[in-house]
């Protein structure tokens, strides 16, 4: 929580010595509050002021990096409870768990590392692999982690064991270079786990009994006093209702109460007997404040759904993803090819262009500048009206490329066809389908030059 200029002023020497370059301590304090200067410009400031200012400047949910190198991911630094209040910044890491004695461990690791899917021009991937210590001694666990690393080089890891020596063996065996998340320190083992995490410079997950937030605070204070600064909270809940309450309370405590001990990202374990039940649990965690979401079922359809959801929820509500408004050629379009118009909301554009391409009918796709709004919202906001459609057609130079004057408008704005005809004399306005998915049928069976 940021301090006001006046609150900072109270912590300064109030001597107006001007050595900071400002005429008075108050002016300096005001500038500090706006983050326009640095506290160390004041040579006389006391430790109390430094501590207070550092604490105030720290984000309410600390930013934590998991992994190293190209595939490392960051979680935390969130500032709101609801995405419409600003945005959610750091999307949760989606991590697949495998047991250390699973004969398919290497194969699963490879599949997790290799999974990727395209959506609205972005490549979506899984973020990491959690290797759960299942039987065997520390050396066996270290060997399993080494096998996972060999099968999935560079993929961020979560090392899951209650046994600090096993984690230490895996990290010493080379995994430390990739800065995995160490999971998990509990009331029983926190000292040893904190030592291992500190020794190898890795983030550490802490876990108390489900519902015991006081226990989580105590653990947080303990491991921080042992020198581990980068934490992840595991609320240890085992069902949907418990997950939601814990995720909500932890985020509220961090944001609204400034609870430093709980100001860390949250790990949500979505384990469930079926992939459907796991998908429900993981969906809730993605929507509601999860920082790391652990799944066991590597069901591709469910992974695709979760990655899509994450992309949706973490899109900045103020900045819809846009594409450049211009004339796009789909396939090798010629003078006979149909001309379709849509808006520059990326999702709209990718849905329409994907379907036109899939139809196998070369076409001209005109993309109007609707400030990144979809057809319906653009229409409702006056950003995709007859005038805008006509202007887009005229400015695009499409007329010189075709031998017909037919324009296909989206079915959702069928009501505009008369107005567009008035704005574009000589053009025939055709009403296309409402949904992109019906475009292939339309182009093949309805449209004719």
């Amino acid at each position: 929580m940021a301090l006001t200029g006046l609150a900072i002023y109270k912590l300064l020497p109030k001597t107006n010595c001007k050595e900071c370059g400002f005429p008075t301590c108050l002016a300096f304090a005001m500038k500090l509050a706006q983050k326009g200067t640095e506290l160390d410009k004041c040579p006389y400031v006391g430790d109390e002021a430094k501590t207070a200012l550092d604490a105030a400047a720290a984000p309410p949910v600390k930013l934590i990096a998991i992994g190293a190198g190209e595939r490392a991911f960051e979680i935390g630094n969130e500032v709101v409870l609801f995405r419409h209040e600003k945005t959610f910044y750091h999307q949760p890491g989606l991590v697949v768990r495998v047991k250390s004695d699973d004969p398919q461990l290497a194969e699963v690791a490879g599949r997790v590392a290799g999974y990727e899917v395209e959506r609205v021009g972005m490549t979506l991937r899984l973020d990491g692999l959690a290797v759960e210590h299942a039987g065997g001694d520390a050396a066996a666990y270290a060997a399993a982690v080494a096998a996972a690393r060999a099968a999935a080089p560079g993929l961020p890891l979560v090392l899951m064991s209650d046994d600090a020596p096993a984690i230490d063996a895996a990290l010493t065996g080379g995994a430390a270079a990739e800065k995995p998340l160490v999971h998990v320190a509990t009331a029983a083992n926190w000292q040893a786990m904190a030592d291992v995490a500190k020794k190898h410079g890795c983030p550490l997950a802490i876990r108390a009994e489900a519902g015991d937030l006081a226990g989580l605070v105590e653990l947080s204070e303990n491991v921080r006093s042992a020198g581990v600064e980068d934490l992840v909270l595991d609320p240890a809940t085992t069902d949907l209702a418990g997950d939601l309450v814990a995720l909500t309370q932890l985020r509220r405590l961090a944001l609204k109460k400034g609870a430093r001990a709980l100001g860390y990202p949250i790990l949500a374990d979505a384990a469930a007997p079926t992939w459907q039940a796991e998908l429900v649990r993981a969906t809730q965690a993605v929507a509601k404040y999860g920082g790391v979401v652990i799944i066991d079922h590597l069901e591709r359809a469910a992974v695709y759904a979760l990655l899509t959801l994450r992309q949706n929820v973490y899109t900045d509500p103020q900045k819809p993803i846009q594409v450049e408004p211009k004339l796009y050629e789909v396939g090798t379009a010629g003078p006979d090819s149909p001309v379709l118009i849509t808006t520059n909301f990326s999702l709209t554009y990718f849905s329409v262009s994907g379907e036109v391409e899939g139809a196998g009918v070369p076409a001209w796709l005109l993309v109007a500048d609707s400030d990144g709004q979809s057809v319906l919202t653009g229409w409702a906001a006056g950003k995709f009206d007859a005038e805008k459609i006509a202007k887009t057609v005229k400015d695009s130079g499409i007329e010189s490329r075709i031998n017909h004057k037919k324009l296909v408008i989206p079915g959702h704005v069928a009501g505009l066809s008369g107005e567009v005809e008035e704005e574009l004399p000589g053009w025939q306005i055709m009403v296309g389908p409402r949904d992109a998915v019906d475009i292939p049928n339309y182009l093949k069976n309805v449209w004719s030059a």
């Binding site: 609801f82 995405r83 419409h84 999974y115 990727e116 899917v117 395209e118 937030l213 006081a214 226990g215 605070v217 105590e218 204070e221 069902d239 949907l240 209702a241 939601l244 309450v245 909500t248 309370q249 509220r252 405590l253 609204k256 109460k257 609870a259 001990a261 709980l262 992939w275 459907q276 039940a277 998908l279 429900v280 969906t283 809730q284 929507a287 509601k288 069901e299 591709r300 359809a301 469910a302 992974v303 695709y304 759904a305 979760l306 899509t308 959801l309 992309q311 949706n312 929820v313 899109t315 509500p317 999702l347 849905s351 899939g358 979809s374 319906l376 919202t377 409702a380 949904d435 998915v437």
Partner: protein, 321 residues
């Protein structure tokens, strides 16, 4: 031990309670469904009242859908050709409500008459004891004709009539007012438009205890985040005490999720998408769960597998309430 003070929100407002179906005064339903009544955000029972769990409706169409995903065709089989059998099957699968679509009355899909529509509604009412949501074919003139006839023929059943939109609300609200029904008030993903329609409906004299609010559903990957945030804003406004946002919310999840490519395409899609058998249900479950978190009170679903998964989820989410 450090004591942790749990932040608890005390909201001044509450969502209205709305009851569908009636067993007296002309009503023949053997069960009714009440939704709403929340005094806090979804499933946060530690700080407020959640008197009714969200209800699951299954969509039934009065003619065999020509364009439905092969997964849905496989799930319902021959029952797709008989709305009464289909509805009964849906209830066996766990539907607490039937959302009946009178599509065959559409000029392009058979143009059947209002009399035919009444007969269909009667058959479905006879086949199941749960309350009905009845949707017109989706063209202004025909919607009015069909829904008015159905409303009159089912007086007292406490059906929900839809869609009730800005362009036709007068007719639909009048039909509900005169015959003891509810309306499904739909607006295009916008807080103020939703409020405005509720005001217009209320001004006609229909009590808001008879209005369900449909904020217009975007499917996962197809605008879900817009619906999600508009619903969160509507629910927060309701809890803050804005009377015109306090309607229970209904989301047509099945229709939106299953018409996307993800719900329909078996071949010619990336391997990472997985098999259609899992993908369609995954799309529906994920869309539905996300909207439950934003305050959905009724989910209209299409696949029995999704009904089962959502029922299990709601058992879990509401067990403490």
């Amino acid at each position: 031990m450090t004591a942790v003070e749990i932040p608890v929100e005390k909201w001044p407002g509450a969502v209205r309670e709305v009851t569908l179906g009636s067993s007296y005064g002309g009503g023949t339903r053997t069960s009714t469904v009440t939704v709403g009544g929340e005094t806090t955000l979804p499933f946060l029972g530690f700080e407020g009242a959640l008197p009714h769990r969200p209800a699951l409706a299954v969509e039934v169409v009065d003619m065999e859908p020509a364009d439905w995903s092969p997964e849905l065709v496989a799930a319902w089989g021959d029952d797709l050709r008989d709305p009464a059998k289909w509805a009964a099957h849906a209830v066996e699968e766990g539907a607490e409500l039937i959302a009946l679509k009178l599509r065959s009355c559409h000029p392009d899909y058979g143009d059947r008459s209002a009399t035919d529509a009444r007969a269909t509604v009667d058959r479905v009412l006879a086949a199941v004891g749960v309350p009905l949501l009845v949707y017109g074919p989706g063209t202004a003139d025909k919607d009015n004709e069909v829904l008015v006839a159905v409303a009159e023929a089912t007086k007292g059943e406490q059906l929900a009539l839809g869609l009730c939109e800005e362009k036709n609300y007068r007719t639909i609200v009048a039909a509900a007012l005169g015959n003891g029904h509810l309306v499904l008030a739909q607006t295009p993903i916008d807080v103020n438009l939703a409020k405005q329609l509720n005001i217009l409906i209320s001004d006609m004299g229909l009590t808001l205890e008879r209005v369900l609010m449909d904020p217009n559903t975007g499917a996962l990957g197809y605008g879900l985040e817009y619906t999600y945030s508009v619903m969160e804003r509507l629910r927060l406004a309701a809890l803050m005490g804005d009377a015109m946002t306090q309607q229970p919310m209904i989301c047509t999840v099945g229709e939106e999720a299953w018409r996307q490519k993800e719900g329909r395409a078996a071949d010619g899609v990336p391997e990472a998408w997985g098999e259609l058998a899992e993908r369609g249900v995954a799309w529906e479950i994920t869309t539905a769960t996300t909207l439950l978190e934003a305050g959905a009170d009724i989910l209209v679903l299409r696949h029995p597998g999704s009904v089962g998964a959502l029922r299990a989820a709601l058992d879990d989410l509401t067990k403490g309430a």
